[in-house]
């Protein structure tokens, strides 16, 4: 099952770690906020995706198929 990375734009404050940890899918816009490519994440990139989710200081990322309890 391939997942998709999504950002909660309300929680996101533009730290930018996600772009450092997962550049294959995330770049930062000119204001420092993540632009996430909607392509599904293959198994090879899953680890990087999980790390981005766990390391985001604002806990603003989620992987679709994984429900955050808010």
């Amino acid at each position: 099952m391939s997942e998709q990375l999504r950002v909660n734009p309300i929680a996101c404050t533009g730290h930018g770690l996600c772009a450092e940890l997962f550049p294959e899918r995330v770049i930062l816009d000119e204001w420092g906020y993540p632009v996430i490519s909607p392509e599904p994440i293959p198994a090879s990139l899953r680890k990087a995706a999980r790390r981005a989710v766990t390391d985001c200081p604002a806990l603003a990322l989620l992987l679709s198929g994984h429900q955050r309890a808010r």
């Binding site: 929680a11 770690l17 204001w31 766990t54 390391d55 603003a60 955050r68």
Partner: protein, 211 residues
Amino acid sequence: MSGITASTALWYASRATGITSLVLLSAVVLLGITVNRQGRLPGLPRFAVTGLHRNLSLIAVVFVAVHVVSAVADSYVSISLAAAVIPFVSSYEPFWLGLGAVSLDLLVAVIVTSLVRSRIPRRAWRAVHWLSYGMYPVAVVHSIGSSTDLRSGWRLAVTVSCVAAVAGAAVFRLRRSLMAVPRSGRVASALGEAAGGLADSRPAAGQGRPR
């Protein structure tokens, strides 16, 4: 004779790991504030700052654990394991050690929630993490009250430096939080900036404030 020596060794171990823990926890809190303010450490990517914050906190936990275990194991003074985690039940120095138990409990809460932070509600994690601002001062007072070590010499200097650094950074962080442009006021300042011809790539005021 050997029993007393062993006990003395444990007692020294507890004191040594105690002050080390304090220094480490000071660094951890400073790094945490740096992350929150989206600060950078020279030459390091952002994920390294958060990584350092996390790794140092885990190292600090190890030192705190040794500090607690050696104090409990030491037979010269009677400190039960229960007294290490339940505040104010110790027969030896109940108040100062009780504070240690309080800060240990808070530390454990912060660490455990952070280990599972991607699996618990975001607000819950944040709320517990804020307890760090309680954990640290309590740990400091515990340190100063439990032992005369820190009240003179180089240990005093170390303690004062750490506490001053953390206090300064904490005041800076909390002032920023209190003075932060409230959510709806951000629109006003963003509009003001845009209209003032700052229609370039600089982020609007208020961006980067944790909510």
